[in-house]
């Protein structure tokens, strides 16, 4: 069934008979096309005892198919100057490729082959294992990664798919074999789990036809359902300090469990987060900690409302001598926000900014492709770009204040500090 809308972005959406979703948008800015293939096979799909499988897949899936060797794939991409990047987050594994329009058909066929027929050659699995272990060791030496991973573990619990380390540990990665990867691929890489977004200098009908040609014959079972445990809201303040005395600066990750993406309060939370830690340079937090007190080069907040209540995280890089003062400032800003809510002016400014930034978000092919993948993942509707302004305009000061009261409570915050600091904060 092919559907479209007639104003705004107006992408064309089609669902192939096998369940593959295709969303296409023509854009003639450059003679190039972005192919954004997302499989709902993120790190939440990792076997509980073996975190790191989805990430391992992302590092090996493009290393050989039933008909193409690893070198042939490299040659096919490199000879055309095509970039193909694979990445994975909690919910999805994505292959994103930008190519010249003349190479579109060939590259889409290649992407389809990689998604459908990877063979995970034994030698590649071993070489990439060493690479992954090196990456994990780099993360362990990076205070920003260490603080963020600790925060997620405390917020969700070490066994929860949101609380596990997304790349696994050096131990779990050692246990992953070729057959682990094949089994994961067989289970999770199925037509019903794929959303293919094509944006660029190609007519939508041609894009959809090409998708049908390359993915139409694919057969597979429905992907399994995963039930993610809903996290308990925090009842008390929890602090973890991870001393890394070889470093110069400390990283702070300070957060809460927030709400569902589908919660009607989402738009109030979006504005709350913008006012708190985004607007201009880091919102209220940036004003206080960077601009007025000069304590940090960066401080910001981010909101990841998701299919379960996702995290709201504040991040800052702080001189170790200022860790306590910076955390006290974050506490104070949150308490003030929860007590007073936003000002009318702040709310109006953030609305204006978020609505006005839509054309910039949707300027490039990759910007449009990312947007359309989000729309598809959360079932926001093909006219979502047109509805965003109204959804944001409808939010009242009281809505944002209620959000702040519900979540921004320092007494229930989780705080992780990693860097050349070992107390007295505990």
């Amino acid at each position: 069934m092919r559907t479209t809308t007639h104003a705004g972005l107006a992408p064309v959406r089609d669902v192939l008979a096998n369940g593959v979703r295709v969303v296409a948008k023509e854009s003639r800015t450059t003679p190039a096309v972005t192919i954004h293939a997302t499989v709902y096979a993120g790190t939440i799909c990792d076997p509980p005892s073996q975190p790191g499988v989805a990430h391992f897949i992302s590092r090996t899936v493009d290393r050989g198919t039933m008909t193409r060797s690893v070198d042939e794939i490299a040659e096919e991409l490199d000879s055309r100057g095509v970039s193909l990047s694979t990445s994975v987050n909690r919910h999805a594994l994505s292959l994103v490729s930008t190519c010249l329009v003349e190479d579109f058909d060939s590259i889409l066929s290649l992407v389809a082959d990689i998604v459908r027929h990877p063979v995970f050659p034994e030698g590649e699995v071993e070489t990439r294992r060493r690479e992954i272990i090196t990456t994990i060791r780099q993360d362990e030496d990076n205070p920003a990664s260490v603080a963020t991973e600790a925060l997620m573990e405390i917020l969700y619990g070490s066994a929860h798919p949101y609380g596990r380390r997304p790349r696994g540990t050096t131990d779990t990665v050692e246990t992953i074999t070729r057959s682990t990867l094949q089994a994961f691929h067989g289970t999770w890489f199925v037509p019903g789990a794929l959303c293919l977004v094509i944006v660029g200098d190609v007519e939508p009908e041609r894009a959809v036809d090409a998708a049908a040609r390359t993915f139409g014959s694919w057969r597979g079972a429905e992907p399994p359902e995963i039930t993610l445990p809903v996290p308990e809201p925090g009842r008390q303040r929890r602090v973890r300090v991870i001393p890394m005395m070889n470093k110069v600066q400390a990283d702070v990750a300070y957060g809460f469990v927030s709400i569902l993406r589908s919660d009607p309060a989402y738009y109030a939370y979006w504005l709350m987060n913008n006012i708190l830690g985004q607007y201009s340079i880091g919102g209220r937090l940036g004003d206080s900690i960077r601009e007025r007190q000069g304590m940090a080069y960066y401080v910001f907040s981010s909101l990841d409302a998701n299919v379960i209540p996702g995290p709201l995280v504040i991040r800052a890089g702080i001189n170790p001598a200022n860790v306590e003062r910076a955390i006290a400032s974050i506490d104070a800003e949150l308490s003030r926000f929860a007590a007073e809510g936003p000002t009318d002016r702040e709310l109006a400014e953030s609305k204006q900014y978020l609505i006005g930034s839509m054309p910039r978000t949707l300027e490039t092919n990759i910007g449009i492709a990312n947007f359309l993948q989000t729309v598809e993942f959360f079932s926001l509707g093909l006219d979502y770009d047109l509805r965003v302004p109204g959804l944001l305009q409808a939010v009242t000061r009281e809505d944002v204040h209620a959000g702040a009261q519900a979540v921004l409570d320092p007494q229930r915050a989780v705080i992780a500090v990693a860097g050349p600091y070992d107390g007295p904060l505990r």
């Binding site: 003639r28 800015t29 450059t30 003679p31 190039a32 490299a74 040659e75 991409l77 490199d78 000879s79 055309r80 100057g81 970039s83 990047s85 190519c99 010249l100 071993e126 070489t127 060493r130 690479e131 272990i133 090196t134 060791r137 780099q138 362990e140 030496d141 990076n142 205070p143 005395m245 070889n246 470093k247 110069v248 600066q249 201009s280 340079i281 960077r290 601009e291 007190q293 000069g294 304590m295 940090a296 080069y297 960066y298 890089g317 702080i318 001189n319 400014e349 204006q352 900014y353 978020l354 609505i355 006005g356 930034s357 054309p359 910039r360 300027e363 490039t364 092919n365 990759i366 860097g419």
Partner: protein, 436 residues
């Protein structure tokens, strides 16, 4: 007035005009989205800094976001945001630049901000003090990253005389001791219309944009630019080494070779050489923040990553006004000794130096660069960046000739550049050797 042929049907040629005060204005209409991008470039960067003042260009950049005579400190934020816009700036060796991209109706506001920035910044003493710790935090955040630390040490070892040797962020003691007067004096010395280029690209009208620019900037007086004399880097006489021993988990190798400046005939052969060694990156420093994935058929990827010795390898040739350093950066795989990684890297480079590369590799590198040049023109912000960047280090006309210059490079030129430049006496070898 001069023009550069448009890259696509929705773009016009570049229009150039120099105002009476020496401000060079470049305008290109690109009607693909209802947006406008402004970049204001200054020919000032860490190359212009002397002892005791390292980091002053970058610190000035920070101060130039902190209020002007007609934009009070607390009103700086919000002007561009109210048009859904984004603003930023950066400082590097040859340049300091400021940018805004927002809906096209914000153009006059962007030009007003840039004119104020050029002539009327406040440098309030309390703000200078509070920014000192922000910048030191930026420096220390960088030092948390072993690769960045090694890069800084390698550059300072490879370049001994030219001011490119010191980091743009500055040395810590200079950041601790510099005064408000140092900052303000430096600002007044270099922020002159005749030392700047204003670039406007997007869904705008050339005549109207030019009038707006004249209205905002014409009254700013030009001045004499007192530029320091730049020491020429003497020839390196033998291989140099630098080793960082610090606690860490991962070992890094970095090679630095004296590289050609943008105006040197070696530059484009070297760009192709780098693409064949480590994959093409394009030539837009702003767009390249979106690092492309490695091109896996490249020589060094094959020799180091596919053999399991390294988990990552990358090359970097930056377009600069004077000769800078071409770097090859390698992350050693867990458990592989650095000496082995070094040996394999040098061996792979020596094969290229002695035997050259193949016509097929050259063709591939050209295709990669041709595609990158298209991809990196995907936004008006990126298009505008290129015009200003090249005008600051050479000429904006360069931008229109890049594709042709890439295509013109021959295999012999690449082989000759590799043979002459990838020599032991032209290189510095850097190790980050972690203490466990």
């Amino acid at each position: 007035m001069a023009t550069l042929a448009p890259q696509s049907a929705s773009a016009t040629a570049v229009h150039e005009e120099v105002l009476d005060n020496g401000l060079r204005v470049l305008i290109q209409e690109v009607h693909t989205a209802p947006l406008a991008s402004v970049w204001c470039w200054y020919r000032v960067g860490s190359r212009d800094e002397g002892p005791g003042l390292t980091g002053v260009s970058h610190w000035c950049e920070h101060m130039n976001f902190k209020g002007t005579t007609n934009i009070p400190r607390d009103k700086v934020k919000g002007i561009i945001e109210q048009y859904g816009g984004y603003w930023n700036g950066y400082t590097w060796v040859d340049q300091t630049t400021y940018t805004e991209t927002a809906t096209r109706d914000a153009l006059d506001h962007m030009l007003f901000i840039e004119a104020e920035r050029m002539a009327s910044c406040l440098y309030d003493p309390a703000d200078c003090e509070s920014e000192r710790t922000v910048i030191i935090s930026e420096l220390q955040g960088g030092e948390n990253d072993p690769d960045q630390l090694l890069d800084q040490e390698l550059t300072a070892t490879a370049i001994q005389a030219h001011p490119y040797r010191h980091p743009t962020i500055g040395w810590l003691s200079d950041l601790q001791t510099m005064t408000r007067e140092d900052l303000y004096g430096y600002y007044r010395r270099f922020y002159l219309p005749n030392n700047a280029t204003l670039v406007m690209v997007g869904d705008i009208d050339t005549d109207a944009a030019l009038k707006s620019a004249a209205r905002q900037f014409a009254a700013i007086p030009s001045g004499e630019i007192r530029r320091p004399v730049h020491t020429r880097e003497p020839e390196q006489l033998g291989e140099r080494r630098v080793t960082i021993r610090r606690e860490g988990t991962t070992a890094y190798l970095k090679l630095g070779y004296h590289a050609p400046a943008i105006g040197d005939p070696d530059f484009f052969p070297m760009l192709l050489l780098d693409a064949m060694l480590s994959g093409a990156k394009g030539i837009n420093m702003w767009a390249s923040f979106r690092t492309p994935p490695p091109q896996r058929s490249a020589r060094l990827y094959q020799a180091l990553v596919n053999t399991g010795l390294a988990s990552a390898v990358g090359g970097a040739l930056m377009p600069t006004q004077d000769p800078f350093v071409y770097t090859v950066s390698v992350t050693a795989t867990e458990g592989v000794p650095l000496a082995r990684v070094e040996e394999a890297t040098l061996a792979a480079l020596e094969i290229v130096r002695r035997q050259g590369l193949t016509a097929q590799e050259l063709r591939k590198a050209k295709n990669q660069l041709r595609a990158r040049l298209v991809f990196e023109n995907d936004s008006i912000t990126n298009i505008a960046h290129q015009l200003g960047y090249f005008e600051t280090i050479n000429s904006w006309r360069f931008v229109g000739s890049i594709a042709q210059r890439v295509e013109a490079v021959t295999l012999n030129e690449v082989a000759e550049v590799a043979e002459r430049r990838l020599t032991p006496s032209n290189r510095t070898i850097g190790w980050f050797d972690p203490l466990s």
